[in-house]
């Protein structure tokens, strides 16, 4: 599982985008399929709370179509059990002048993969941030495939990953800027922290531009919890576990502070509270 399986899937994917057939009806049984469509000029906020408990291999498909100049603030809160094996595929089309503000928060699972395929038309704005962790000796993955087709479109990302003992997270963001997409901006950032032995955080920011006018920035960093920080906090009277939790809390804050609304911020913080 993990990055290897993802890369293997790439090889048989000549059209660049994931095919739903890859997962649906074969390895994984399609258990849910939903469509969100926002009409022209409309605004909405949606919070999707998933606490799936299935034990088999399941797949879920969400199609999002934002019509011209509409705006959706979408928060996905996916808190899974340690045995869950699922793939969630999000097919997203942002039409002219539309905006999707996406918060993606994914916790746990034996294999818990979220793939976002996003197509941006002229002037569309895809802004997202999120946090994923795995402390279940499993694999949590957040994958983006963004196709900036339209001029003056914008794609920004800040995704943080946390891998506990014998667990892994995978972040991959492949952004493709079309030759005809003038004056687009892309900024992707991935930060990771490994909190236990044999934990792994894979990161692959990947931007391809066929238009020279594009403004692009990307970055990725992965760190272990610094033992010197733990010793320092020990010296201030904190035990090892308390010290680790405090350091981790600071790490989470980077993303959690971006959440608008105190109730939602509290809910997300509680979801990722250390056991």
């Amino acid at each position: 599982m993990g990055i290897q399986s993802f890369l293997q899937a790439e090889k048989g994917d000549p059209d660049w985008l994931f095919s739903p057939d890859e997962y649906f009806g074969k390895q994984f049984k399609l258990s849910e399929a939903n469509t969100v469509e926002l009409k022209e000029g409309k605004k909405d906020q949606v919070v999707l709370r998933h606490t799936p408990t299935e034990k088999g291999l399941v797949a879920k498909h969400l199609k999002i179509d934002l019509r011209d100049n509409s705006q959706l603030d979408l928060f996905v809160l996916n808190d899974t059990g340690a045995k869950l094996q699922q793939v969630c595929l999000y097919d997203i089309h942002l039409r002219e002048g539309s905006t999707l503000n996406l918060g993606i928060f994914v916790k746990g699972g034996k294999f818990n993969k979220h793939i976002f395929q996003v197509e941006l038309d002229d002037g569309a704005n895809f802004s997202n941030f999120g946090y994923m962790n795995n402390n279940d000796s499993g694999d949590t993955e957040v994958i983006f495939k963004v196709f900036q087709k339209g001029a003056e479109s914008l794609c920004t990302q800040l995704i943080a990953g946390e891998a506990g003992p014998n667990s892994q997270t995978v972040y991959q963001s492949m952004v493709h800027i079309d030759a005809g997409a003038e004056v687009v901006e892309t900024g992707i950032e991935n930060i990771n922290i490994v909190t236990g032995p044999n934990g792994k955080c894979y990161s692959r920011p990947d931007v391809t531009s066929e238009n020279e006018s594009a403004k692009i920035r990307y970055g990725s960093q992965t760190a272990f919890i610094d033992e010197s920080m733990i010793l320092y906090l020990n010296s201030k009277g904190l035990g090892d576990t308390e010290a680790r939790n405090l350091i981790l809390q600071g790490f989470k804050t980077t993303v959690f502070n971006l959440i608008q609304g105190d109730d939602l911020k509290t809910e997300v913080a509680q979801m990722f509270e250390s056991d």
């Binding site: 610094d226 010793l231 320092y232 020990n234 010296s235 201030k236 904190l238």
Partner: protein, 244 residues
């Protein structure tokens, strides 16, 4: 309060301290003057319980209990707090939040909100910005001088019985050294706490108004007495301070 008997410590087979003896009673302020490599930081590490030195032989008791059997955390909770030369900064948290979390996690019965005024006063007296509590406690948010003063701020507010200060004035400019020394003096003398202050700077140690002065050289406390020792060094120099 603290008794060190025949302490010998090593680091990677190098002898750091040789037969060090020291007793600190409540309210006493001991300063230890010594050049780089004399063993000051080694003694601080042994007192704090840091794993970078090995105690070869000897004993340390604090409040009549063996300190060497206590973890770093236990030493701090029992009232021995060390102020380090290079305080580690915790990313993505503010200084006030860091302080509140430290209090909460060490199960301090005091309510942080009740300490807010004291926090602000202490920060101000250390020359920190009035909004210091809301600035980030990380390397982007603080200069070295601010990090040192922040370390003192948190250590003072933990209200230790014995404050150990390790050569923190080393990289500070003259003005900051003065502020740091005066604040250490005020904390220890006003609250009648005990302290062991290590430094290479004689003037800093004088400002602290010690009750006891020790000269450390080549891993040993070569000379002990009162503040007159510092005055004598100024007049005559002292051969023990030479590292050669």
């Amino acid at each position: 309060m603290l008794k060190i008997k025949n302490l010998n410590i090593k680091s990677a087979d190098n002898e750091i301290l040789k037969d060090v003896n020291l007793e600190v009673k409540p309210g006493e302020v001991h300063v230890v003057l010594g050049p780089t490599g004399s063993g000051k930081s080694g003694l601080v590490m042994a007192l704090a319980g840091l794993p970078f030195v090995d105690v070869d032989s000897g004993s340390i008791t604090f409040k009549s209990k063996s300190l060497l059997k206590q973890s770093i955390q236990e030493r701090s909770l029992n009232g021995l707090v060390s102020v380090f030369q290079h305080p580690v900064e915790i990313p993505n948290t503010t200084n006030w939040d860091l302080f509140c979390n430290i209090l909460k996690l060490r199960k301090d019965k005091r309510d942080p909100q009740d300490l807010k005024e004291l926090y602000n006063e202490t920060a101000e007296s250390l020359g920190l910005d009035k909004n210091h509590g809301s600035t980030p406690a990380d390397s982007d948010g603080m200069t070295h001088s601010e990090a040192i003063r922040n370390e003192l701020l948190i250590s003072f507010l933990l209200d230790p019985n014995l404050l150990i200060v390790d050569d923190i004035d080393e990289k500070l400019d003259a003005e900051d050294k003065l502020a740091v020394a005066l604040n250490i003096k005020n904390f220890i003398h006003t609250k009648r706490r005990a302290g062991i202050i290590f430094s290479k700077d004689k003037q800093v140690l004088e400002l602290i108004e010690p009750t006891h002065v020790h000269i450390m050289a080549k891993g040993q406390l070569a000379l002990s007495g009162n503040i007159d020792i510092l005055k004598r060094i100024e007049e005559d120099g002292h051969p023990e301070l030479s590292t050669s």
